[in-house]
Amino acid sequence: MIKKTLLFGFLAIVFVVPVGLLGLQSLAGSWSYPDLLPSVLTMDYWGRLVSRNNLLIPLLSSFLYSLGAVLLSLVLTLPAAASLARDRIPARDLWELLLLTPAVIPAVTTALGNHYWLSRLSLTDTPGLIVVMLCFYSYPYLLRSLTWGYRLLGPELGAAARNLGAGPVRVFLQIELPLLWPAIFSGSSIVFLAAFSDYFLVSLFGGGVVPSFATVIVPALASSQRSWASVLALVFLLFPLIVFAGLDLVLNKWQRRRSLT
C-alpha cells in the first residue's frame, strides 16, 4: 500500500503538478519567493489574450503549416510503409534505417546547409517551404507507425477484396484505411505536434516572416513576464489538445459507421 501511495504521489508530483503550476502562474498578478501561492490573483493576462488581436494569425498559421506537414507526410509515407511491411526488399532493415534518419540525426546538421541553397533559390521565407521542411524532419514517426500498422494488418484482407474484384482505391479506402486508422492517427498526431511545437526550423526557414505561434511565445518565455508567458504556454498546449480530441471524436464516429464489425 505504501509503495502504491509513493508511486502515485510520485506520478502526481512529477507529471501533474508542473502543468498545474502553469495554470496558477497564468492567474498570478504577483508571485515571488517565498510565497507558495500567488499573492495577487488576476484574470488580466487571460484578458490580454482576447484584446491582443495579433495572436490569431500566428496561431492559424502554425495550425495550417502543421496540417500541411501531416498531409504531405501521409502522401509520402503511406505507399512506402505498405511496401516496407509487405514487399520483399533486399537489405530491407538498412533501407528502413536510412528512411528514419531525418528524425534521428540532429536537424541542425542538415538544416543549415539546406537553408543555404534554398535561400539562394529564393525559396525561403515561404509557408510552402516550412511545410516541406517540417515534413522532412518528422515524417519518420509517421512512417514507423504506418509500417507497424501495415504489418499488423497483413495482406490477406486486401488480397481477398481484390479477388472479389475491388479496385485498389476501394481496397484502400474501405478495407485497409479503417483498420489502419489507429496507426495513421497516432503517427499523424506526433507529426502535427512536432511541427506545431517547432521553433528552430520554422524561424530558420521562415526567416521570421512566416507567422508562427512558437516564434511569438519564445521571447515571452525568456522574459520576466512569467504570467503572460504562462497564458501563452497554455494556449500553445491546449490548441493541439483540442485538435486531437476533436479529430479523435469525429473519426471514431466515422470509423463506427464504416466499421466491418
Partner: protein, 411 residues
C-alpha cells in the same frame, strides 16, 4: 504496389502549393523610390503593408509600436504595419545572404539599426540610400547630430529614430548610496557577492556595459578616436580584462555564467536575484514602476562621465519590397507627436532625436509637459555625464575577446 491516382493528384497539389507560394510575390518594381516626390511616395505607399524588423526583447516597446505607431500610420497614410521581432545581427546576416544570392526582392522593408550592424550593412552595400534627405521631418533634426554612427559616416543611409543613453537601475530602498564610478562599483560588487551581473557580450546592453568599463579602465573614451589597431588594442584592453576578472568571483553565480540577454537580466532584477539592472532607455525605469514591475523606490544612475549615449536609427534594405512605405514609416517616426509619445516613460522612455529648438507651439509644449518621473535623471545630469560611442571595430573586438578572456579563462 504503385501510388494510386488519388495520391498522385494529392502529391501534385502539394508541389503546386509549394511552387506557388514561392512564386506568389508582387512583381518587382524597378523604379527607384528616391526619384519620386514626397507626394508620389505617399500615394505609392497608400494601401500597402510595411514590414519592420526590430529587436523584440522589450515587450513595452513592442506594444507601443503595435498600438501608437501602427494606428497613426494607418490613419494618416493608409499603410499597415507588420512588426517582425528580429535581432539586428540576425537581419543583417539575412540581408547579406540575400545580396550574395542576388535576391532582388526580400521580405523586410525597414530595419531598426545602429552601430556595428550599420557599419556592416553599409560597407556591404545592403542599404538603400541616401534616403534621409527625402524625409520632410528631417528638417526638425540637427544635422550635426547625425554625421557619425559609432564612427561610421551616416551619409543619409539611415534615418534617426531616438536618442539612447546607458543608465543603471537599482532600488534606492535597498541601496541608499550606490556606486558613482567604476572603482566604487568594483568595491560594491566585492562587498556584495552574488548580487551583480551583466549580460553576455553578444547582447547589446552587455556589450555597452563592457565598453564603459573599457573606457573607465584605460583613460577614457577620448583615447579611442584613433582608428582601430589590433596590437594597440591588445595593450589598451588589458586593464579591462583585469577588472572583469577581478570582480568575476563576486558576481552572480560566481561569474561562471551570465544572462544570455537583457531580458534574462530583467528577470533576475525583477525577481530580486540581483540588485542592479542596466538599460539604454533613460526613462524606462519610471515606466516599469508605473507598470507595477518595479517598486516605486527604483532609481537610475549614470557612472561619472562614463555613460554611453548614442542615436539609433532606421534604415531600408536594398531589396525592400515596399521602399515607399518604409520611407513613410521612417518619416512618421520623426513626427513630434510620435517622438513625444516615445519619450513618455509610460510608453517607452527613449529620448527624442529632434532638435526641440526647431519646434513650435503644440509640438514644443508636448515635450515640455512630459513628466519623466523621479526615477529618470534630470536632462542636465544625463548630458553632463554622457560620452559618445567609439568606432564599431572596437565593439566587435571587445565582444569577440570577452568570451575568450572572461568566460573561458584564457590569460
Amino acid at each position: 504496389m504503385k501510388i494510386n491516382k488519388g495520391q498522385s493528384i494529392l502529391l501534385a497539389v502539394m508541389v503546386l502549393i509549394l511552387g506557388a507560394s514561392g512564386a506568389c510575390k508582387a512583381s518587382i518594381d524597378k523604379s527607384d523610390v528616391r526619384n519620386l516626390s514626397w507626394a508620389e511616395i505617399e500615394a505609392k505607399a497608400k494601401g500597402t503593408t510595411v514590414t519592420w524588423a526590430m529587436w523584440g526583447g522589450d515587450d513595452r516597446i513592442n506594444t507601443w509600436v503595435d498600438t501608437v505607431v501602427a494606428t497613426r500610420l494607418k490613419k494618416d497614410y493608409g499603410v499597415d504595419l507588420l512588426r517582425i521581432p528580429m535581432d539586428a545581427s540576425v537581419f543583417v546576416s539575412k540581408v547579406s545572404n540575400e545580396k550574395s544570392a542576388n535576391k532582388e526582392q526580400g521580405s523586410l522593408d525597414l530595419l531598426w539599426i545602429n552601430g556595428e550592424n550599420f557599419r556592416r550593412a553599409k560597407s556591404e552595400g545592403l542599404l538603400l540610400g541616401p534616403i534621409s534627405d527625402k524625409l520632410p521631418n528631417m528638417a526638425l533634426v540637427n544635422p550635426q547630430d547625425v554625421v557619425y554612427d559609432f564612427g561610421t559616416l551616416v551619409e543619409g543611409y539611415e534615418v534617426p529614430y531616438g536618442r539612447a543613453q546607458f543608465v543603471f537601475e537599482y532600488d534606492s530602498a535597498k541601496i541608499p548610496s550606490p556606486p558613482r564610478n567604476f572603482v566604487e562599483l568594483k568595491a560594491w560588487i566585492i562587498a556584495h557577492p552574488g548580487r551583480f551581473t551583466y549580460p553576455e557580450a553578444s547582447d547589446f546592453t552587455g556589450s555597452a556595459f563592457i565598453r564603459q568599463v573599457f573606457y573607465a579602465s584605460s583613460g577614457g573614451q577620448a583615447n579611442y578616436i584613433k582608428p582601430f589597431d589590433q596590437d594597440e588594442f591588445a595593450v589598451d584592453s588589458a586593464p579591462l580584462w583585469a577588472w572583469l576578472k577581478d570582480v568575476r568571483p563576486y558576481l552572480w553565480q560566481k561569474g561562471t555564467t551570465y544572462p544570455s540577454d537583457k531580458a534574462k537580466l530583467d528577470t533576475l532584477f525583477e525577481r530580486g536575484e540581483v540588485d542592479f539592472n542596466m538599460s539604454y532607455s533613460q526613462g524606462g525605469a519610471q515606466g516599469l514602476i508605473h507598470a507595477g514591475r518595479y517598486p516605486a523606490t527604483v532609481r537610475t544612475l549614470v557612472m561619472e562621465r562614463q555613460s554611453l549615449g548614442n542615436i539609433h536609427y532606421t534604415a531600408v534594405p536594398f531589396n525592400s519590397p515596399n521602399p515607399a512605405g518604409a520611407l513613410i514609416l521612417a518619416n512618421l517616426l520623426l513626427d513630434p507627436a510620435i517622438q513625444a509619445s516615445k519619450n513618455d516613460p509610460l510608453n517607452w522612455g527613449d529620448f527624442t532625436v529632434l532638435d526641440t529648438s526647431k519646434l513650435k507651439g503644440q509640438d514644443k509644449a508636448s515635450f515640455e509637459s512630459l513628466d519623466l518621473g523621479p526615477a529618470t535623471l534630470p536632462l542636465q545630469v544625463l548630458a553632463a555625464n554622457m560620452v559618445p560611442e567609439i568606432s564599431s571595430s572596437y565593439v566587435e573586438a571587445l565582444e569577440n575577446k570577452w568570451e575568450r578572456h572572461v568566460l573561458t579563462d584564457s590569460p
